[in-house]
Symmetry: C2
Subunit: 322 residues, 2 copies
């Protein structure tokens, strides 16, 4: 287990209990679906960020637990809706909710998790955190919508790509860190530092995701490799490769993205094309750059094991295999 | 135009401006979809309730406008998700968003509207209203989930039916009225009275909806008559008819509900069956009863044109044709 996981081990155990306790509903079907997806073993990266950030900021209470749970609920709601939008079959090595129960419960239980999160927040009575999370949730949906607008668009620029992943992924990482800062009642400078750390970490997390989708193996990843291409998502490895591609290569990729169904052979061809044009190397070095930048934001905090924890979490982003 | 609409005419004009102003996003595609569905002419019943209730409670400010807009956004988000869940083709005489742009934008713009609503509420800084709306939104999703659990179930009881419509419809009506009470800072007794008025009005609204789905015409309704049966929703007219049905009749209905696609002929057959067993008459008298009960809750308020407005809104529920 990674260092930072050991550091928050007790908190993560409390988190699991809180997740069970906070999902109150008379409808057992909802509980069944929520526990199916929440218990299917996410990495709990966002709750870890809430916890480490709050402790870095000297917070001694227990409120980081419900807020960590809420952040995980919102993340889970987006997964449920994503899987409907993408028509995904597997996630984390399990069949998706939409595959097992259909699209309807996937959409509606996602809605339940969103509403429940806001209901819980309204009971917590922390307006600053509420504002932070609700802004992040709006960005999240904007990012997802931008992503579908850019689907199959080989003219997608790096700037547009970073806008998509900034909204759909980085903003929630940023909010998770900011919650810690709000709980710890630190200065605005420290709060902004954590916010920026989270944002850049989130970008790096997504870059790594987009690399793994070309380079990993189904069994390791817990879902099909090549999913992004099959869903016609134009991610950085491909964007970079297209920048130095010949006209002929570009037209081949364009043709593949126009197909109804993208085959394994198509994927292999695009993978090879990305390799030739250093798409993975380029994305890896972008990941490194974002992580270095992210870590610098923590310089203003004094040394502590929680700071070490956040730094090692950043390093983990670069090497994680799933 | 109905009396109560005249009474809130100026407020509804402000509402339309607020709707445009509050949907801030850089993504023009979101604006396009939101204005397509919001401007397609809903009845604005929930905003009218917020407005009349707040004025009944002596509220003189302007905050009822953003909250009325928020309630309408949440309602619109549920419509977007409903249409995906039900695979609906038309609503309010227009093609549904999922038909024009596909399921993805329908799910994601619904999410955007939910998040935006909570973001706006977090900025308004009224924790009581936030709690009321977030609880209602959770109930709403629970109601929708209960409804899909009960799909095609001819054993659905009246009690279960009322639980579904209570959650999916009445709770938001109730919240709309409660917002008015909170803004007007009335006594707990008055607040509860408005809450109960809204709840019963919402039940009556849904009962009328479920009647019209059997008795109206496509052109009047703005969507296909018989949609509920085609979506295998077992509503009160059918539940009541089944209570006094012969074994043979029950088995015919059961067979129809098991079909992949329910035809016009099937619908005519079930309609006839409901007529024979007074399903519509029974549901109409239930509607009347709920409206009478609803109106009684307003007895504790002194006479005013806003009270008259709410009472005439209740009467409108009984006779509305769309």
């Amino acid at each position: 287990m990674e260092d930072f996981f050991v550091l928050v081990d007790k908190d993560l155990k409390k988190l699991e209990l809180a997740i069970d306790k906070l999902i109150t509903t008379k409808i057992s079907f909802i509980k069944e679906i929520v526990s199916y997806i929440i218990k299917s073993g996410g990495k709990r990266v966002r709750p870890v960020l809430v916890t480490l950030s709050s402790k870095l900021c000297g917070y001694k209470g227990e409120k980081h637990i419900p807020f960590a749970a809420i952040i995980e609920f919102i993340h889970t709601a987006t997964l449920l809706h994503d899987d409907v939008v993408d028509n995904a079959k597997t996630r984390r090595g399990f069949s998706t909710v939409n595959t097992v129960w259909g699209n309807e419960p996937s959409v509606l239980v996602g809605d339940f998790l969103y509403s429940k999160s806001f209901e819980l927040m309204s009971q917590e009575g922390n307006p600053e955190i509420l504002k932070t999370i609700s802004r992040a949730t709006t960005s999240l949906s904007e990012g997802e919508i931008l992503e579908i607008i850019k689907t199959a668009d080989i003219k997608t620029t790096e700037e547009e790509y970073f806008e998509v992943i900034g909204n759909k992924t980085a903003v929630l990482f940023s909010a998770a860190c900011e919650i810690g800062a709000i709980l710890g009642k630190v200065t605005t400078t420290q709060r902004n530092a954590l916010k920026n750390f989270g944002y850049k970490l989130g970008i790096a997390f997504q870059l790594r995701d987009d690399i793994l989708d070309y380079t990993s193996y189904d069994e390791v990843l817990g879902k099909r490799v090549g999913t992004d291409l099959k869903e016609k998502k134009v991610t950085l490895p491909l964007i970079h490769a297209l920048q130095s591609a010949s006209e002929k290569e570009t037209s081949i990729v364009a043709k593949i993205l126009k197909k109804q169904i993208i085959s394994q052979k198509d994927f292999d061809r695009v993978s090879k094309f990305i390799e030739t044009h250093d798409g993975i190397i380029y994305t890896s070095s972008a990941t490194k750059k974002y992580l270095q930048d992210a870590k610098k934001h923590l310089n203003i905090f004094p040394s502590s094991r929680y700071k070490e924890g956040l730094l090692s979490l950043a390093d983990y982003m670069l090497k994680r295999e799933k």
